[in-house]
Symmetry: C2
Subunit: 496 residues, 2 copies
């Protein structure tokens, strides 16, 4: 085989995977946004079939040999092809150890469980979701074991969501956070109780919230020719390719902050996908490199930008103009204090920056126990509530606002949550590096994100998945990941 | 091979085709509703790839042999399997004569042309669309010739959209319509000029129009667990399966009738798809049997129901309640006259019942000329305008309201338009048959469509594609298609 023929074959293989992936993504997107409830059965059949086709097209002797041939000739490959080859080799090894029948069964389960979860959350009915969760956990354990019987199953899972990270890494990371942040939380939360924030929970007509979100789209400079917003139970971002990016939002009539900060958050994810390099489009590398790095972008725009004094000073007049009655007595300083009020709350995605990592630590600790076999899925609600009491001093009044709040487990995403905390920490480190280059706070204050976007584009976005997470951090910050930037940032902000 | 193994194989083949069809349909749906403009390239790649996979999975020696084996044993097949086999045999023969490369090129072209058309329509720019149309026509001619070199290409096309119908049939059908209707139109249109209808073109806020459309959904008894509404440039209905049906609408601020009657029209299509038999779900037969029969359902609900005195008497109070200012001086009789005012207008989908078929005849005559090679695609706008002048006495002021108004040609649907007139005629014949069973007008007057839906369900919907168009008419009406019912209905209505 000639090298150029092998490269052509690799590209064809990727094009196939991308086409199937596109179709599956659209079916999921439809199912999460507008599809009628009864459609789940047919969609589940179709997704399962397509996933099977991907498997058949990808997992076979030909692919195996092709990838080995390319790796044997790696000196002759350009950088993009080499990284694609390595990624495909890893994915092949990861997937090929799972029998196709079980893989397809799992795809079906995932789709169904997601539908059941949505209903269960709505109806505060954990028991209807529990058998699906049990099955999801046991199948993931089995798959992790097929793939690497030497390693603890949870480590295999953690590595899927953030390459190279294990329980040892996260235990250490969370130990640092607990040591440096819990004392601050214990002190800041009671002190903050007197901060007024009731005005955030008045009546905010949804059509007006949507108009405000359009202003955020403008502020972030999301390209409307390649980007749309939809609605779903739980906000998420989907990047089909850099010319087709969507985020969803969920609007609550009596909550200003939920949709507002979700938009800034998902907007950060969307920018990452929209700004991946032109040379990577329609390849497996034309997307964010990892969940943690993705979260560093969403957290950057949600927190470093969106919850800063500079942003509020700039943006609050517009908010007030749109909701004059709701905010009639509220100055921008009062508004700033309210949206940064540290509180022991129930819902992760609405948590303030300071207590956010406690929500992650709770989920991480439960997942660890589940994978160690030390707890069963019917004990999760009790355990969940116990940990919320322990870490945050509050007990969820129902499972809708407790264990059922997040979509992740229903989609089999176990080991995913820790990347959220990691991403928040990386965002702080990026901000410190950016500040060495230019006064980004001044740009936020003036409402012009051109330079901020450009810096992140150069340092992070445009590389897509060509650079691995640790390489991106090294490239952007000139040093390795360091959790203390995050602690410094929070201690500095909340000691104010 | 055992019969039961062959049947199993046929069912697997259908399941595959349905899964691919579902994915392709969702990509089209997304593209027509919310997808960002720049997404077309990636979507076009994916659709083209998936269409190629369908071709590869379906057009091969194995399928050919399987279908022949089943047909050799047709006495041993149940009715559903027999019809499926015959349908697949026909589809195989239809598709296998087109080389895969050209087929895939055409799929790509179709997707792109649709996107270009949307833009061209918006910008009144026929010239940007024209090269795509030229290519679409020439490829369709070539395909028709591959498939049946003996037959005129346009006859092949006509047969695709309504089995067994040729230019000879339609020439005769349209001759009847012209003979019986044109004299009435020449007389009724000038007479109707004094009918007041300016109140239909006041300001109708879109969110209120949408609320009214929800009332139509209730009135039609569309099952919201299996049905949703979306928005697109041109209204259409998509039935993925009977548990996943969607229609789209297009709202105009200054036009009451457009979205209102589109909803009744698409609602008829949706009922057909929603009520196909449970035994046919997830098979190729679980859908309406033909375009003409589909149109008979949409026209039944749009015209026989929606433009009747009984419906207006029942529904108008609700309309007036929702738009009190716009209709302050308008009685239900004045409203009825206005929505039935025969007029020489430019837009087919907004035409009244009486002049509607002239719009179809114009398109039919142009298509005939195009296929005969007597006219080139750059001459179409001129020809279009000439024929509008001739038949309707008016000239479109721009191509947006002329040749670019319909989506069909951009999707290669040449030979499709005549089925609209056919469907309208069948709707009238069904109404006469229904009236022999029960007083359906009384049910419309009382606002309860239970019996109307049930009758159409029993006679038409539940059979899906198990009965062929002519069989359905025979079964429902106890006689063959007869265009005179349509003429009688219109003459009776407009002589009033």
């Amino acid at each position: 085989m000639k090298i150029q023929d092998a490269v052509k074959k690799l590209n064809e293989l990727e094009a196939k995977k991308i086409a199937y992936g596109h179709a599956i993504a659209m079916l999921h997107f439809d199912g999460s946004t507008i599809a009628p409830p009864n459609s789940f059965e047919g969609r589940s059949k179709t997704i399962s079939f397509l996933a099977g086709e991907v498997y058949k097209n990808f997992i076979n002797k030909k692919t195996d040999e092709l990838l080995n041939f390319l790796l044997d000739n790696k000196d002759k490959l350009d950088k993009i092809t080499l990284v694609k080859t390595k990624e495909n080799r890893e994915e092949y090894d990861r997937t090929s150890k799972i029998p196709i029948g079980e893989y397809m069964e799992y795809m079906k389960l995932q789709n169904k469980a997601n539908f059941i979860w949505e209903k269960a959350k709505k109806e505060n009915d954990y028991s209807s979701f529990q058998p699906y969760l049990t099955k999801i956990i046991s199948m993931n354990k089995k798959f992790a074991n097929y793939r690497n019987p030497e390693k603890p199953a949870y480590d295999v899972m953690l590595g899927d969501y953030e390459k190279g990270y294990t329980m040892e890494d996260y235990d250490l990371f969370f130990k640092t956070l607990k040591e440096r942040l819990i004392p601050l939380i214990r002190e800041a939360v009671p002190r903050a109780q007197s901060i007024k924030d009731d005005f955030l929970y008045k009546d905010f007509p949804i059509y007006k919230q949507k108009l405000l979100i359009e202003k955020i789209v403008d502020f972030l400079k999301l390209d409307r020719d390649s980007f749309i917003i939809a609605q779903s139970e739980h906000p998420f971002t989907m990047g089909i390719n850099k010319k087709d990016v969507r985020f969803t939002n969920h609007y609550y009539e009596n909550n200003f902050t939920s949709a507002f900060f979700s938009a800034l958050h998902e907007g950060g994810h969307a920018l990452y996908e929209l700004n991946t390099g032109d040379d990577l489009i329609y390849t497996s590398l034309g997307t964010g490199t990892s969940l943690g790095m993705h979260e560093s972008q969403s957290r950057f725009y949600e927190n470093i930008v969106g919850r800063s004094r500079e942003f509020i000073n700039h943006f609050y007049p517009l908010i007030k103009q749109m909701f004059p009655q709701q905010f009639s007595d509220v100055t921008k300083d009062v508004f700033y204090m309210a949206i940064n009020k540290p509180q022991n709350t129930l819902i992760r995605i609405e948590a303030d920056e300071l207590t956010y990592s406690l929500h992650i630590i709770i989920r991480y600790e439960i997942e660890k126990l589940l994978f160690a076999g030390d707890v069963k899925s019917n004990d999760i609600p009790g355990l969940w509530n116990k940990k919320y009491k322990e870490y945050l001093g509050i007990t969820p009044p129902d499972n809708t606002r407790g264990v059922l709040q997040d979509v992740h487990w229903s989609q089999g995403m176990l080991g995913y949550f820790p990347t959220y905390a990691l991403g928040s920490a990386v965002a702080s480190q990026l901000a410190v590096a950016m500040a060495k280059n230019f006064d980004y706070k001044a740009d936020i204050a003036s409402g012009d994100l051109t330079k901020v976007n450009k810096w992140l584009n150069d340092k992070v976005h445009k590389h897509g998945a060509l650079l691995k997470p640790k390489e991106v951090i090294q490239y952007a910050c000139g040093e390795a990941f360091n959790a203390n930037y995050y602690c410094d940032y929070l201690i500095n902000k909340y000691s104010e």
